[in-house]
């Protein structure tokens, strides 16, 4: 633990330093421009101070983003449309629904693929091919079409999340369900186990580590899907909408704060799955 904390902190500090330097470099032009128009000569200190405190900077300084995050999360009421927590909740609900649907679909497909030779041969190549299609690119169409059919709100976004998150689960679960060795399968056969018993008592338990690993990937993918799914709805609510609105009006600080919120959300969700994984695997005696 100690061995990694110090290097990680060093890297993070380096990123902060580069960020502040980048803010000076990118925002200097605008600060100079304004100063010459006002007819003032800027000293170096003033210039740096100005680049770190602009209203619509090209690259906001970290403390500006932190202040915006604090303002939009703690100081606003949760129900307010200005509250980032409100927007995060909109995105989070779509992410979780999509993730749940994707995991169920993924596990179902994996069971089909493991137990059915026809499905293995015909579906598996298409599952892989389906991921070479840049699905995010057609997210707007899916949203608009589902809206036209009368499905709106949470479900269309969740569908995109589902499409992105089922793939890692299928691949991981197929691997996991096939992970019991021939010895273990033979052992079950000598105990005269039925196929159902074989599945519940051997294959499913031994696939658990694979399931959790792929669920972490699926969760991250699902969040990306939900964010992109919010782009075409006309920036109503959600983190993706904040990104789009921010880019329309040049509110860079708003974009960055939404981005950090999304990052925090992703980190929390993945950490949550990690915690569940540890508890479950310990109870099962696998960790």
């Amino acid at each position: 633990m100690r061995r990694t904390v110090l290097p990680v902190l060093t890297v993070l500090a380096a990123i902060l330093v580069i960020w502040y330097a980048g803010a000076v470099w990118l925002n200097a032009a605008w600060a100079q421009d304004r100063a010459t128009r006002a007819g003032v000569e800027l000293s170096l200190v003033e210039l740096v101070a100005d680049t770190w405190a602009q209203d619509k900077p090209k690259l906001p300084a970290p403390h500006q983003v932190a202040a915006e995050l604090w303002r939009t999360t703690v100081e606003q009421k949760v129900t307010s449309r200005r509250s980032l927590i409100h927007h995060s909740w909109v995105t989070l609900s779509a992410t979780l629904l999509g993730f749940a649907l994707g995991t169920v679909l993924g596990v179902a497909l994996a069971i089909g693929i493991v137990y059915n030779r026809v499905m293995d041969m015909s579906v598996m190549p298409w599952v892989i091919a389906s991921q070479t299609i840049p699905i995010l690119a057609i997210a707007p169409m899916i949203i608009v079409v589902l809206n036209a059919v009368g499905i709106s709100g949470l479900l269309p976004k969740a569908m995109i999340s589902m499409y992105l998150s089922f793939f890692p689960v299928v691949v991981g679960m197929v691997k996991g369900l096939r992970s019991p060795g021939i010895m273990q399968l033979d052992q079950m056969t000598t105990w005269n186990a039925s196929p159902a018993q074989m599945f519940w008592k051997l294959r499913l338990p031994s696939s658990m580590p694979y399931l959790f690993t792929s669920m972490k990937v699926a969760m991250a993918a699902s969040l990306v899907g939900a964010i992109v799914g919010e782009l075409p709805t006309g920036a109503v609510a959600g983190l993706g909408a904040r990104l789009l609105a921010g880019s329309y009006y040049g509110q860079t600080i708003q974009i960055w704060s939404a981005l950090f919120m999304a990052a925090a959300l992703a980190a929390c969700l993945v950490a949550l799955i990690g915690a569940v994984q540890r508890v479950v695997l310990r109870r099962m005696g696998m960790a």
């Binding site: 990694t4 579906v123 057609i138 921010g246 880019s247 981005l259």
Partner: protein, 282 residues
């Protein structure tokens, strides 16, 4: 009604053929034929049901209409393909993967950097980086440069993590052997560690092919010149010209598959010695 019956018939026939084929011993032919028949059956069912149920083409056009549109507007599609896939995605992919590879080699020399960067890199690789797109569009303008920048950022961390992992893949015994040969750092790198890292490197390259296309297309939603696949998709959705959207999707799918397939072929020829590749030669 006839169309729906035909759809069910196609379903039954495709299913029956595939069941028969799956019972045959596994060979190259059946391995290829089964998924192809599955795909064709899906297309036929799609066509029959769209026609039979009278689904309006603004919701779901039949595959035949998409094919007609595809053939009729090849020059638009080609122009968009060049703008997005070649200029945006491919440039960004080469730059991003190249930079990540060099960075990984540099990081690998210093174990301090390695211990610091790997957790951060792993964390960043799981973040919704696509959200950086509006910022990068703001920085680099509307043309393909900003799309390439988005792709660079998207592919960098997955590639970095994979390459760093790969550089650690050579075994202690092998490295010791190189030492007894009095091999220099560079000799060890080029003769042992890079070749041993190749499977991991290619894993990273394959993962990032899809990311590259996605990044380039989604970045166009935040602003683009009046060409490009993302631009075409978002404007055609607005005009309810869904057949053009689907034609664009077909292009994206073909580009994505070809890109992935190309990298996979390269992998097979360069890492023919790896256990995961050996079985397929026969």
């Amino acid at each position: 009604m006839g169309w729906i019956v035909a759809g069910f018939a196609a379903w039954a026939i495709g299913f029956w053929i595939n069941v028969r084929l799956a019972r045959l011993p596994r060979s190259r032919v059946t391995g290829l034929a089964v998924p192809v028949i599955f795909g064709v059956t899906l297309l036929v069912i799609w066509e029959c049901f769209v026609r039979g149920l009278g689904v309006p083409s603004v919701i779901l056009p039949p595959p035949s209409a998409i094919a007609v549109r595809f053939a009729a507007s090849t020059h638009i599609l080609w122009q968009d393909f060049v703008q997005t896939a070649i200029k945006g995605a491919l440039t960004g992919y080469v730059l991003g993967c190249g930079a990540a590879f060099l960075m990984a080699v540099a990081v690998d020399r210093f174990s301090f950097l390695q211990r610091g960067l790997l957790p951060v890199g792993n964390f960043v690789a799981a973040l919704p980086i696509i959200g950086m797109a509006p910022i990068l569009v703001m920085w680099f303008g509307f043309d393909w440069q900003s799309k390439a920048a988005v792709v660079v950022v998207m592919v960098f961390f997955p590639m970095l993590v994979n390459t760093v992992q790969g550089l650690q893949a050579s075994e202690r015994m092998q490295r010791d052997l190189m030492r007894t040969y009095a091999a220099s750092y560079w000799q060890t790198l080029f003769k042992l560690r890079l070749p041993a890292a190749m499977p991991f490197v290619f894993n990273g390259l394959k993962i990032t092919t899809t990311l590259a296309l996605i990044g380039a297309i989604v970045a166009e939603f935040f602003g683009s010149p009046i060409k490009g696949m993302g631009f075409r998709i978002s404007t055609s959705v607005g005009q309810l010209a869904l057949d053009l959207v689907w034609a664009e999707i077909v292009v994206a799918a073909m580009a994505g598959s070809a890109f992935y397939g190309g990298v996979a072929l390269l992998e097979r020829s360069l890492t023919f010695w790896h256990p995961s590749q050996r079985g397929r030669a026969s």
